[in-house]
Symmetry: C2
Subunit: 531 residues, 2 copies
């Protein structure tokens, strides 16, 4: 069963290894364990619903609780403390576009707010109901999760919007295809959610971001149904797909998604290379990306992340041997771990591997084969579970991310890390901060930063620490040419910073679209655009 | 000097070879030559301007005439007959964003309509002034054509919007870079125009369409300046670049363009392969595209276009030898000519070539080396000049284009060709129709159809024939899952068909944006959206 107050299945547990605990204690101090609320305690606080009964809607308190929060750190603190705050008044489970249209009509009659809900994995407050006079109806697309059609010539698959990562891939794999979209939230997040929030997967280097994968579909809006036909490309005016992607539920509910799929590749391999220092590593991956070497993924940890990963990996003796070997080859204390993948035919992969190896060796890279890459691939969706292990050991962990042009990557990364590292110094707290680059482009790169801190003596203190950290980092991003999100979206948490990149005029244009599609402003109010 | 009534420089002439004339006479009948008007005759019809003098604006009749029409066939007929119809009342030549803002303010004071003008190469009626009470101010960006900055780490170049193809490439090449955007209109069309009309270049397979190249910039609108910052990618809401691309001047005037550039490639080669028949050819290029073989261009002519090209090439004896050789290798009467390019390092190109050859051989392709490919590259921008040669010989020629998914390419292509071929049958006229696919994607392909017909006894008759042909083909496209334009844009000529793909709701969303940016509807009225 899925956890009601954390990530993923209850059966999956990822503990912090003993060695890792020592590593963190040295860096931020001994853990501070807070007591979690029980489900019963949390349920006792669910208020009576303000909605009447409806055959498609559950008013059950547990269902309402399970759809009240996403997976941001504030959501985590709310769930762990049992202080959820606001709950949806009901959770609808439509099974068709027609159901969605009925629910929209009904919501209008009830003067209700409507929150579209995919996998509930938002880390930016997309799906949290807000206090207000209007009742809140959360619309879960979970039952619309089927593969409806494949056009095998055009490699277009049609899905219900609620299909999550495993549902998408297992239905495609059975026919010999893959979507190739693997965000870290893949086990729970959904196709409709990826589209609505402009998601990016770990292998976007080959398969593209959702922008390249989303081919068309249908959106149910309060102003009618928006049908988006599939074309390989078009010059016929602004692209309607681009209005839907990133709209975060503000314009309508996605009821059907057509995506560009690929035949399963003959071969896929992940390799790791240790770069001697950060500057060489940075130049190496920029050169790789700009030379268009056809890799399928590329991820570069900075020196602190490399050290942290090796420490948290367990197996301290094996790691010590590895480090000795690397140091002998020139990758010592400042070393940075780089993982890359090749996906394609055997011949294509051999050619790509050869290019990548030659190029990285020119920057001092020490190639260590597929062993660590294989480990990465096995554990690629396990990181979100680690929050549980850290929490039990008395540490809070959060991540944030941005993207910027190459000329600014190093500078922005340093500023973001510094803003987090220093923010709690006044209260004598240290924050352990580390970063990797996981999506590289010719123009620049994403920057994905993880920070570990102690929650303090209470949930209130934990929340206030998080707020300070998040605000410091978000301001740093907005003031230094970073986008407020490369892959998580805007939601509520990033909405105040959006004006820095869209401008007043650009934001007003998005407001104009919101008014067009949703004249009574019922859909996800406060998300994306601060109303 | 640039021609006032046709394509390109007066010094460049492309005549129809004698052999080609016979070929066409056989297919559509002997040519019908119409008498062209002189520049003086045309100038005599320019009416008095309705605008007062302004230091940035030319009211000169010849300047107004030279900015009155694009390069569509109706434009051609208007220019050749000297019946231009409506002229702009003045042509402004701003040199800065500040100038553009002044001109917008002034246009508001004068209650004038404003038409943004790049290279004047529209083939869909984008820049033609319409009859109306408000005076018309055409704003040419020709003087804003400089490379302003290069970020060499991020490979971002900043240009004035009026830089045309040669200005873009020569300024970049001097520093070791290329944009790699080569639409057929490249000699005259501009960066700002490419963005505004969602242009695609011949090597989009490597460099991407303008959607992938346009990184950010600035747009001057009646509601203020829209600044679009550069990010390699972002999940922060809908992408403002996507509002600008395809807006065709309806939302504002682009005053600065930032583009993603590439280092000049070590090597570039174009090869030709003859496929034994259309079905094998089609499967071959679909497989190539879906296998992600890293080519830089791919163009496949159908059997009629292949025959026509070989006939119009001149050198009938050499062609006869080539055809004999090809027939012996299995590419006889139904053969289809395929040209592809590889661009990159020597090693990358060798790997790509190997993959492409092996794959195409599997579909019966006969590889003929680089000779014809080289010819293609030399003549890649000459096709628009051929209209002159054909016209002098008594033939009108026009092209139209669409894109659709692979499962529909063959069917749509046949329907479009049939609609053109049969449209004039009732009046006993034949139309020579042929097609190539020039932009291939995993999902589908563009379809680019050329049609040659006799103009009849008068310009009126020529225009009415064109209208019937264009309408027949456009309806066929709109009714059969094609986009109304893959690379030329909507303008006025395609606007009536846009609803078929955007839907009423989608069109209304674009109208909402137009009202947002241009509340008094001064910008290019009737373009993109029928007002």
């Amino acid at each position: 069963m899925r956890r009601w107050n954390g990530w993923g299945e209850e059966s999956t547990e990822v503990a912090l290894p003993a060695h890792g605990q020592g590593f963190l204690a040295e860096r931020v101090g001994p853990g501070q364990v807070l007591v979690d609320a029980s489900l019963d305690q949390a349920l006792a606080r669910v208020p009576a619903t303000r909605l009447p009964a409806h055959p498609l809607i559950s008013l059950d308190p547990e269902e309402r609780l399970r759809h009240a929060r996403g997976q941001s750190l504030p959501d985590w603190l709310a769930m762990r403390s049992g202080e959820f705050g606001i709950f949806p008044d009901g959770v609808a489970f439509p099974e068709s576009a027609e159901h969605i249209r009925q629910l929209l009509d009904w919501a209008r009659q009830q003067d209700a707010v409507v929150i579209p809900y995919g996998g509930g994995t938002s880390v930016a407050g997309h799906i949290n109901p807000q206090a207000g006079d209007r009742p809140v109806l959360t619309v879960s697309l979970a039952r619309m999760n089927r593969l409806l059609d494949i056009d095998e010539d055009s490699l277009i698959a049609t899905f219900g919007p609620g299909a999550n990562g495993p549902q998408v891939e297992s239905q495609l794999r059975a026919r010999g295809y893959t979507l190739g979209h693997f965000p870290q939230s893949w086990e729970l997040s959904t196709l409709g959610g990826w589209v609505a929030s402009r998601s990016s997967g770990q292998q976007s280097l080959r398969y593209g971001r959702i922008e390249q994968l989303f081919a068309g579909g249908r959106v149910e809006t309060f102003a009618g149904t928006l049908e988006i036909p599939c074309f390989p490309a078009s010059a016929a005016g602004p692209d309607l797909r681009e209005m839907v992607m990133g709209s975060e539920g503000r314009f309508g509910i996605i009821s059907e998604v057509k995506v560009r799929i690929s035949r399963l590749a003959e071969q896929e391999r992940f390799y790791s290379v240790f770069m001697p220092d950060w500057q060489q590593a940075l130049q190496g991956i920029r050169t790789l990306a700009q030379a268009r070497v056809p890799l399928s993924m590329l991820r570069l940890s900075n020196a602190i992340e490399t050290r942290t990963q090796l420490a948290l990996a367990g197996h301290p003796r094996q790691i010590a041997w590895l480090e000795k070997y690397l140091a002998l080859r020139g990758a010592g204390d400042g070393k940075c771990m780089l993982t890359f993948g090749v996906t394609g035919s055997g011949g294509q992969n051999a050619a790509s591997l050869k290019q990548a190896k030659r190029l990285l060796k020119g920057f001092g890279g020490v190639f260590t084969g597929t062993r660590l890459g294989k480990k990465w691939a096995e554990n690629r969706f396990r990181f979100p579970y680690l929050r549980h292990g850290l929490w039990s050991a008395g540490y809070a962990v959060d991540t944030l991310e941005t993207a910027t042009d190459w000329s600014n990557v190093d500078s922005l990364l340093n500023k973001v890390e510094a803003s987090l590292r220093e923010e709690l110094a006044a209260e004598g707290e240290r924050v352990h901060v580390f970063t990797h680059l996981s999506h590289v482009y010719g123009e620049g790169s994403s920057i994905y930063t993880t920070y570990v801190f102690r929650p303090g003596a209470s949930y209130q203190q934990a929340m206030s620490r998080w707020q300070r950290l998040k605000q410091a980092a978000s301001r740093t991003i907005a003031e230094n040419r970073g986008t407020i999100s490369h892959q998580h979206g805007v939601g509520r948490d990033h909405a105040p910073y959006l004006v820095a990149e869209k401008g007043e005029l650009g934001l007003a244009a998005l407001q104009a679209l919101s008014v067009h599609f949703d004249p009574e402003r019922r859909l996800a109010p406060g998300v994306l655009l601060e109303d």
